[in-house]
């Protein structure tokens, strides 16, 4: 329900590309990140293998999924037990060859969730911190240029303790980018910001990367950020990558149930494939009830995935994607019209959660129980339909509202 809310504003913010390019005239060299490693912390094991191209790669997952640990391993702050991390031509970690570059030599820019600005230094000194190897004059020019590009030039003399949240985020980004990293790690750097500020900073970042073309690993647990930023998404769960692809592929058709829960499916069912129709791009699935036998099977037409007849998988349907009718609807494009009976109605804030029992044939079979589906309605819809427990209804579900997952 939130795909449509995208962060980036319609009109691009005003930029001065010349200032951004002046920060570094380095030729864009497309350097990919390749990482496969294992790190254990007690019971928790991070075991991952992925590649990231220049541009944004989103790391998405619940807290505790291992996102920050993954970034720490890439940056060299934590040493994996086994594996290999290579960025472009630079081998940063290779356990079999006993290579483990120190953090300072990896050219990895890392903006922490806490930002970690040096509280005892001014904004300017914070930004110039990573330029210690350069002559004084060049240090000044470069940090002034990046402060200008991130529109925080006026803060240069202020203490890092005296600036606002949004300003701190910009300073932290500028401090990292000015060092010309070969790889950028961002650990929810914008989590605490309002949407408009966030969008402006992301625009600045995109603009910067247009001339630098480095891989950016961006950690978030916000669905909206995934859609706003992602060229590519990696979903982490309990230390493993469980899905990857474009935001649309990963977030709207999750492959595993954990993703489904993250993406907010209220209805998740086990199902068996009854028939496949490659010519129509669909297939028919029968919902397996964990309760008693269903007298009347609930069949769903779903999008076609690679699965054979009689194989089992999972179907996820958002409660807000289901239509509810009080008489048998006709002339619909939707392929699934399922009869059922209202079991309960519950008002939650401004929506009504309606539980409908499906798969009960006719009347007089009260002992037999079916499949429960949750449907979300507006208050007005409930009142105009006169819904109440026991009322027979029909559920209407579009084929593409059925999201298939592995079991």
């Amino acid at each position: 329900m939130s795909e449509s809310r995208i962060l980036v504003p319609a009109q691009p913010a005003p930029h001065e590309p010349s200032a951004l390019i002046a920060v570094s005239a380095r030729k864009p060299d497309a350097s990919h990140l390749e990482a496969s490693f294992r790190k254990r912390f007690g019971d928790f094991v991070l075991d991952i293998e992925f590649q990231a191209s220049p541009g944004f790669t989103i790391l998405f997952g619940a807290s505790g999924a291992g996102k920050t640990t993954l970034l720490d391993c890439v940056a060299g702050l934590t040493q994996p037990e086994a594996g290999r991390i290579v960025a472009g031509k630079l081998c940063m970690f290779d356990q079999p060859r006993h290579i483990n570059l120190p953090v300072a030599k990896r050219r990895v820019g890392y903006v922490f969730q806490t930002l970690a600005l040096f509280p005892h230094l001014s904004v300017e000194r914070n930004v110039a911190y990573g330029l210690a190897h350069l002559p004084q004059a060049e240090r000044k020019t470069r940090s002034a240029a990046i402060l200008q590009a991130f529109r925080i030039g006026s803060l240069a003399g202020r203490s890092a303790r005296e600036i606002s949240g949004g300003e701190s985020q910009r300073v932290a980004l500028a401090r990292t980018l000015v060092t010309d990293p070969a790889l950028l790690l961002l650990d929810e750097p914008l989590a605490a910001l309002d949407v408009a500020t966030k969008a402006r900073i992301i625009d600045d970042l995109r603009e910067w990367n247009r001339s630098h073309c480095i891989p950016i690993l961006y950690v978030t647990h916000s669905r909206e950020e995934v859609f706003a930023l992602g060229e590519s998404v990696i979903v982490l769960d309990r230390g493993r990558i469980i899905a990857r692809g474009s935001p649309h592929e990963v977030m709207t058709a999750p492959l595993q149930e954990t993703v489904a829960q993250l993406a907010g499916f209220e209805n998740i069912f086990d199902a068996t494939v009854e028939a496949v129709h490659p010519e129509r791009g669909t297939m028919i699935c029968r919902i397996i009830s964990h309760k008693e036998r269903i007298s009347d099977p609930v069949l769903l037409e779903t999008p076609l995935v690679r699965a054979g007849v009689a194989s089992t998988l999972r179907v996820g349907i958002r409660a807000g994607d289901i239509l509810l009718a009080t008489s048998l609807p006709e002339g619909l494009s939707a392929r699934n019209v399922i009869p059922g009976r209202v079991r309960s109605l519950e008002q939650r804030d401004m929506i009504v959660s309606c539980r409908v029992e499906c798969g009960i044939a006719g009347s007089g079979q009260e002992l037999r129980r079916g499949v429960d589906m949750e449907v979300h309605l507006t208050l007005a819809a409930r009142d105009s339909l006169g819904l109440e427990p026991g009322r027979p209804v029909w559920l209407v579900i579009k084929t593409h509202s059925c999201h298939l997952m592995q079991r």
Partner: protein, 225 residues
Amino acid sequence: MINWQTFWLTLQLAVIVSSALFLLGLPIAYWIAFSRARWKFMVEAIVALPIVLPPTVLGFYVLVALGPHSPFGRWWISLTGHTLAFTFPGLVIGSFLYSLPFSVQPFAASFSGVDRRLIAASATLGASPLRSFFSVVLPLSVPGLVTGMALSFAHTMGEFGVVLMVGGNIPGVTRTVSIDIYDRVQASDYAGANATALLLLVLCFVLLAIVYGANRKAWAVKPVE
């Protein structure tokens, strides 16, 4: 009435010892704060020993170690021709060990208090561990450093047991203020003892008040221009 020679000697001892503790205490404290060695607790325990040990016990072992019967003592004698026991340098070594926890513990505590993410940020910005230490850890540990210096200085000013064991009581060489006071009491010179003790008390108080007053300001970190 007041023996200024002993005051001068005590002051010299305290300055030398607290300076040495600052220089050598920093790396020890750094190691305690950041090492992941399994036997770190052993080093912490050894550093803390002088807090609980009677000064005479510590002084006794320092005396033995400095004397001609220990390998270190023999090595020193072969090097210089005389023993370290009952000399000013010997006194410095004894006082150093005795005040070690009073500098190392506040140092280590303030190093540990520095946000690890700041140190990590410094490293990702290309700084060597040494630069991270001097540019981030040390400036953010100033209050702890000042406290450690003040405590070790004051502690050395007033010590008695270790000085008596290691240094003896040689005027101009190892006789410190606290021993002078003890001697005066033994000789029933209560007026002299009182004057000396009062002066030491006032001196130590003023010094600590200055240090803690300055330290209070150090908590409010200001940007470096």
